[in-house]
Symmetry: C2
Subunit: 597 residues, 2 copies
Amino acid sequence: MRESLQRFPRTIAQHLRHIEGGVWNEADEIYPDFSPPPQKGEDPFRTDNLPSDLGYQMKIKNGVIYIYPDKNAIAKDKPKDLDYPNIHTFMDDMNFLLALIAQGPVKTYSHYRLKFLSSKYKVHEMLNEMEELKELKNNPHRDFYNCRKVDTHIHAAACMNQKHLLRFIKRTYRVDADRVVYNSKGKQMTLKELFDSLNLHPYDLTVDSLDVHAGRQTFQRFDKFNAKYNPVGSSELRDLYMKTENFIEGEYFATIIKEVGSDLEDAKYQYAEPRLSIYGRSPEEWNNLAHWFNKHKVYCPNMKWMIQIPRIYDIFRAKNFVPNFGKMLENIFMPLFEATVNPNANKELSVFLRHITAFDSVDDESKHSGQMFSSKSPAPQEWTFEKNPSYTYYIYYMYANIRVLNKLRRERGMNTFLFRPHCGEAGAITHLLAAFMTADNISHGLNLKNSPVLQYLYYLAKIPIAMSPLSNNSLFLEYAKNPLLDFHSKGLVVSLSTDDPMQFHYTKEPLMEEYAIAAQVFKLSTCDMCEIAKNSVLQCGLSHQENVCFLGEDYCKDGPLGNDIRKTNVAQIRMAYRYETWCYELNLIVLAMKAEE
Amino acid sequence: MRESLQRFPRTIAQHLRHIEGGVWNEADEIYPDFSPPPQKGEDPFRTDNLPSDLGYQMKIKNGVIYIYPDKNAIAKDKPKDLDYPNIHTFMDDMNFLLALIAQGPVKTYSHYRLKFLSSKYKVHEMLNEMEELKELKNNPHRDFYNCRKVDTHIHAAACMNQKHLLRFIKRTYRVDADRVVYNSKGKQMTLKELFDSLNLHPYDLTVDSLDVHAGRQTFQRFDKFNAKYNPVGSSELRDLYMKTENFIEGEYFATIIKEVGSDLEDAKYQYAEPRLSIYGRSPEEWNNLAHWFNKHKVYCPNMKWMIQIPRIYDIFRAKNFVPNFGKMLENIFMPLFEATVNPNANKELSVFLRHITAFDSVDDESKHSGQMFSSKSPAPQEWTFEKNPSYTYYIYYMYANIRVLNKLRRERGMNTFLFRPHCGEAGAITHLLAAFMTADNISHGLNLKNSPVLQYLYYLAKIPIAMSPLSNNSLFLEYAKNPLLDFHSKGLVVSLSTDDPMQFHYTKEPLMEEYAIAAQVFKLSTCDMCEIAKNSVLQCGLSHQENVCFLGEDYCKDGPLGNDIRKTNVAQIRMAYRYETWCYELNLIVLAMKAEE
């Protein structure tokens, strides 16, 4: 976490240091750098403050980009000292953890501790529920509605709800029917001609014929779900309305996203972290995406941007878009290094990166990946066959490059990136293990149900989990069986997120819908809901300045000291319970380690 | 049903007539009269078209109001011939039904038929789900969002959500702080003084301190739930904001209701049927309520009004407000007869009644009522003791008076009233039996779970049930255990309603929240949701003119012939399935009756 500038709670750092016999002090705190919100009147797209060219050179070596002071150093292979990640260390750690989660006594121990956490919380609830409520009732001017809450997991291409998209399409047709918007094999088409070619009239279009909502048919069918991204089943409309690179330079997509942003601004207390895609098919993608972002001024104070990278090497390789996996990594990461080293030669990208807070790794986790990641796995440049690398392989190389990139950016005083992959929605338990080693926080985490050791580790390390029970309900797990309430009771750090409002939600306020349904089905108290909302702020990529404003001065501190009830509306009794319980679990381990010595 | 002008599906009327050896024709159709919506420019409060005085006299006799042509006829006890209800007939029918639902073979038969209906629907779903979807996709311009849906069960005093009420209170304080709004034991108080006396400042008020939302504490505690009607636990605020009779003549209550109405108008496709209370403590209540309605012009095209009568004779008797139950009935019904006979002497009430579509009977059904209703029960004027009469006793006397009133009103060409009691939310199964005999439709119906015979009867007679699973979830039954999906699968006519948005809902669109949660938890298809929405229109008190517009010309016809998919977005395949299945069940009985002969 330290090396890659991901966050790590200070309480557990203190305990770890204690076990090692040292003392933690505040200077040891790891913190990522997020761009502060623009000052009043400041242009979020300004380029006059970009730092100058460092003249560094880059080269990708075994899937990781290395930085050299100059061309000469490349020739001598003398990279700058940035403490590059070592794959063998990673392997050793991974193998250690693999053995750990399979070890009988550790499993039993974790199982009992988790069971204890569950029961303890039930007792806490019975004894203190009314007291918590009293605290909240006496807390003036703050309630669940005006607590900040962040949609910690949402895809930009599905961030509008189905009704919004429908209205938007109809509106564009009313205004733009005769505008040339599409290029089909060299033939330019107006919006009217495009709809005619699809045998559609937008006036007749309904939510049903739009057919982007996930129904019963998508359960356990991620493939069908992915097809739902095509309005009326037509990839042309997806291209026109939900892509950044098309004949109209992504204008419609930018407009509808800005409308979603303006709804968030109206709601005032709601934020979202939409993901935009980078595929790694070509290094041009970054410039194109940055151009789209700058050209259409896609900025909203209530949105923090993330980049998602689909794990689709196999498809690109099959179509011969890339010669090997190493090239895909280079396409994804090299432009970022270039823009970091010489921002003025990459102005739009540099501005765009200022607004990016994290990377996500996405795709259907239930697809079996074949080969395990091991020391015998081919290096990325040798990965020339069509098979997709395993989840862990992807995760390691993303982590490794983000780590080097973050170090370089910190040196330059630039914002750094979190790593927040989709993880544990389905598939093997090793996904959750890889993310435990590399990620700031994850999305989904459902499969923690199946590994008591990992679940306990996620608890101890307080790794936040952005959960989307409505999405799961349509894809992988029925609502009532969702582990959200169980995780929350035990004290895992969970937040609520929508994933894809276009596919899953019905109302105009998808995030509120998500909270309302969870509150009803799980019978959450106000304190529960505000705690989850607070978790969402802590998990997301809001800047230090914003966090101070939304959570209070001491938000970095763990436990009740870090909780300003006037801002969070979380009862101090709850915070004290969580903190004491957590420290108790950590101390048990410290004591056991001491006893062993 | 015929005698009291409640609706009855023609298909079952045809089958009943067939069993009797007769033939049904369209003239036999029973239809209630609802006031048509005002024409463009017409004042909904106009009084210039009220009919003249008939000079009839009324007298209450054994709890039922009788009508006499003149005073002379009263003396001779020669009432007008209106086919007054006969309590012995009711008793005989009730005893017959009581024996029927307890009979072993009938129970087995009903149980198997219901099980068969369930399984048959599952098969239908598997075979036709995609076909239904296809029908809907090919249906232009209509989807779930622009189908009419009616909130068939909502209480006016809780029709705004908690956030709306909070904002409203804050706004009144900003505008009206120095206005005298309250009279406390002769001392007049300004809004500021009132809040000071409660040690409250509205600026600090939050949803938590407002404390009107039902939480975990209300489960199985209807008493605690009722207390939630008091904002900040203060009956003064309830009186000021949620009552029609107070120092400001219910101005705030009227204003906030009109705001809810205007939100419905904005949503365009949503309607609501709020209930206003008449208690029966004094005959003045009607004039006061009508005055409030007319004075504040509480009219909204998207609202249809209902009257709810709480079953709280015991409380009134204990406080000596009424000498016996008969007096309470007289207080409730006599003013309606007077306004019907001589509208010009009761102008405001006559206008108000024009907007009323139905009566509801409300209270905690789980309270045990002691004595059964039987031929030995005292007549209402003899019911002088403090004990509350049973649910059935209340229901019978409401039914009896509504029946006479409806006959009189039809004679005069006035709108008639439906009887739509709360029934089967909790308590004895006899409640559902009483409503089966008397009601047009009911709210809740949860306890149909416990009686296969009654459930089958409700199915055969297609008696609509307004269900509120979110309300049940807070009070009587966990969401996942709600029988809504089961009833819907079998083909009972269910609609979705909110009951009390103030206590149960989180978002700005409570009815949509209700649909969204049901859709998610029960995995309803679009066709299911549109069928439920259609049911809600058929169940409610919208006029013939509105129904034609919302459901199509032939909405009175059962089965696919009555379904205009362009308006309802319900697949004809579904309608055909429902209709064929229903006729099959009815025919089984016809055949059995014939075989017996």
